[in-house]
């Protein structure tokens, strides 16, 4: 049997070649923007006592932009990806620029993307949601049907199970965007699954729901009925506007507190069954391999986690003095109740202030004042949630899970602040001395 292939054999081969060359091109586009922007010198002509240039002209009118865009001076605030991490740009992830965000809401345009077969662009007129299986009456809905139903709106974080997955073995990526940027938090609006299942009715043995996406990857996950009826939504809006295509337009599943892979985008089908399906994404992927060779399966909940977003490798300090140290904390089990911050690598801790509001299964902003004396410091944060769970050190986590489990790394992040003000992602030994 010859393994030679004739590339001119048919049209499919052409399509495949085009696909492969696109892969090659994306691999070549590795160089991305520098992380630390050099301080820009101000133009003295625009500073007091002079009248700046924008004070002496007529600006564009209200007909200039039907849909607003960020200032041209905020172009560095964008999603970035790590080209070497995966085989292609269609089945990979990019990262939320946490270092440039404020409060706890993620703007729609910079919510991290994780696709398995590229971004689907769907005409909502041509989209349907079918609910079938162990129901009294299967139903098929249009997007307009869903929008006519009783709705709910909630803030929830959405975190990929592989967030911080590259940091299991050691400190590897020097930026909070890359170590923690597979998370976002928006205000979701949609129909509770409970309402949809009230319409279809459920058979007594209805224990599981299979959610399927309409994209090429036909993403599927098995979701326990208990969770489906508790707080899951079929969402059609984020932060007050329609979902973005990269977030599943026209509809996606919202599974609060659980790993983002279950939040099936471009949702087209919900099948009710009496057992789990054990599909690819819940067996070969999204299972947590341990040093014993066994793996956790159905590890859905995202445990409490936190990270300091200022300072961070992308946002160094500018000389000694006063700084408001800030970060984000979240837990898939409920509310964050406390965040402690250490400036000496975890020897001594102070409790940070949590900014209102503090919602369950939602990013929570914390802040603590710091007067930096210009000496080397090791900044760490530690989240505690309403169940009493305490975010572990990497050492404690690795002791149980080893370094090959890829998913669910919620270990404490350490930033080293150098006398120069630069910040580096470092790993501490942390064995109890």
């Amino acid at each position: 049997m010859s393994h030679e292939r004739d590339p001119k054999r048919d049209g499919l081969a052409v399509a495949r070649r085009r696909f492969l060359s696109a892969v090659a091109a994306s691999g070549a586009a590795a160089g991305l923007t520098g992380l630390v922007r050099p301080a820009q010198a101000a133009n003295p002509d625009n500073l007091p006592p002079n009248e700046p240039e924008w004070a002496r002209v007529l600006g564009p009118g209200v007909d200039d932009r039907g849909y607003g865009l960020p200032s041209i001076y905020e172009k560095h605030v964008k999603r970035r990806w790590v080209p070497w991490l995966t085989a292609s740009s269609e089945s990979t992830v990019n990262f939320t620029p946490l270092q440039d965000l404020h409060g706890f809401v993620t703007p729609n345009g910079v919510c991290f993307e994780r696709h398995h077969s590229g971004r689907a662009e769907i005409d909502p007129e041509d989209h349907r949601l079918i609910i079938h299986g162990l129901v009294d009456k299967p139903l098929m809905f249009t997007v307009e049907d869903l929008k006519r139903m009783p709705s709910e709106s909630h803030f929830y974080f959405c975190e990929c199970a592989a967030n911080s997955g590259m940091e299991w073995r050691n400190a590897q990526l020097n930026g909070v965007q890359f170590t923690h940027g597979m998370v976002h938090c928006v205000h979701w609006t949609g129909v509770p699954l409970r309402v949809l299942f009230e319409q279809t009715g459920l058979k007594p043995n209805a224990k599981w729901v299979l959610a399927e996406g309409a994209d090429g990857a036909a993403m599927t996950r098995s979701i326990p009925m208990e969770k489906a009826l508790d707080d899951c939504l079929v969402a059609y809006a984020q932060n007050g506007e329609a979902l973005r295509p990269e977030q599943g337009y026209p509809i996606r599943l919202v599974v609060p507190g659980f790993e983002a892979n279950m939040w099936v985008k471009w949702l087209r089908r919900l099948e009710v069954g009496d057992q789990a399906w054990y599909h690819r994404e819940e067996t070969s992927k999204y299972t947590d391999l341990l040093p014993s060779g066994k793996a956790y399966i159905f590890s859905w909940v995202m445990e409490a986690k936190s990270v300091i977003t200022f300072p961070c490798p992308e946002k160094p300090l500018n000389g000694p003095g006063y700084y408001s140290v800030r970060g984000l904390a979240w837990s898939g089990r409920g509310r964050i109740t406390r965040v402690d911050v250490s400036f000496d690598g975890g020897r001594n801790w102070q409790t940070a202030k949590l900014q209102d509001p503090v919602y369950p299964k939602c990013l929570t902003r914390f802040e603590i004042p710091w007067r930096w004396n210009g000496e080397r410091a090791l900044l760490v944060s530690r989240a505690i949630d309403e169940t009493g769970y305490v975010q572990p050190t990497m050492y404690e986590l690795q002791k149980v899970r080893g370094v090959e489990s890829v998913y669910h790394n919620n270990g404490q992040q350490v930033w080293e602040v150098k006398p120069s003000g630069e910040v580096e992602n470092v790993r501490l030994r942390y064995v109890n001395a």
Binding site: M1, H3, R5, A15, F19, L20, G31, G34, V82, T86, T92, S117, P138, L139, M140, R148, M149, A162, M166, R169, N170, Q172, L173, N174, F178, T179, Q199, G201, L202, P204, A218, M225, L229, E271, Q275, W277, Y278, H279, T283, S284, L289, K294, A295, Y296, F298, V301, D344, R347, N348, V390, T393, R401, H408, E424, N425, L428, R429, V431, N432, A433
Partner: protein
């Protein structure tokens, strides 16, 4: 729902719990939205397969029939022998590697070494592969390509014919390799230490020294493996 009538729910708390856990409230108002899909509409999308084989379509295939199909439609990413090209998934081998840990070794999670059910292989190829042309394969082609991948893992014979009667019966080596999520699995301190905590804060790793890892430097990382998956 029929298990617990509304009146019974008031009498038996346990029954009420069962209702909450398993079924939606009974007396919901019919909103009159949506339509009942036809059996053909459901069947057109309901193509998923379960571990017990439910959902497997008619048709059949052998590894022998699958080999040329695999070489044409799969090998450009997965390699002629399932060894994987570049960072595309490895499909074969990796047996006895699951307990290996960096830096001494690394686990190789393949169809043969890791996947607990053969049904998952059929389901995934059937609904999502080949990567640039998903949902383009016929049932016979999926049986044949699946058989070839199982053959690369020494799990079926080259001429063994697979169909819906025997596909789900194939015993996968890692069938018992999974544990239901036991988290929280890391010991939780009752009162987290706040002062003079006994920890060794020696720096043992620096991301700034991992050459080429962080975007912005146009270099492939040297000597480190940080495979996220695909």
């Amino acid at each position: 729902m029929s298990v617990c009538a509304t009146s019974m729910r008031k009498l038996f708390a346990g029954c009420a719990l069962l209702v909450l856990a398993q079924a939606a409230p009974a007396a919901a108002e019919d909103l009159g939205l949506g339509v009942v899909p036809t059996p053909e509409q459901i069947a057109g999308w309901d193509k998923d397969i379960r571990p017990d084989g439910v959902g497997l379509p008619d048709g059949s295939g052998t590894a022998e029939e699958g080999e040329p199909l695999y070489l044409e439609k799969c090998a450009y990413c997965h390699g002629d022998f399932g060894e994987g090209v570049g960072r595309w998934p490895v499909l074969a081998g990796g047996f006895d590697t699951l307990s290996e840990q960096w830096p001494e070794g690394r686990p190789e999670k393949t169809v043969g070494s890791y996947w607990p059910y053969s049904s998952t292989l059929f389901d995934y190829i059937w609904r999502a592969m080949p990567f640039p042309e998903p949902k383009s394969l016929t049932p016979d082609e999926v049986y044949a390509i699946s058989a070839y991948i199982l053959y690369l893992n020494d799990l079926v014979e080259y001429d063994q014919r697979l169909d819906k009667t025997n596909f789900a019966q194939i015993e996968m080596p890692n069938r018992d390799g999974f544990i239901m999520d036991p988290r929280p699995d890391v010991p939780i301190p009752e009162k987290p230490c706040m002062k003079d905590c006994p920890v060794d804060t020696t720096v043992i790793g620096r991301a700034g020294q991992v050459e080429g890892a962080t975007p912005g430097e146009d270099v492939q990382p040297a000597g480190i493996e940080m495979y996220l998956g695909e």
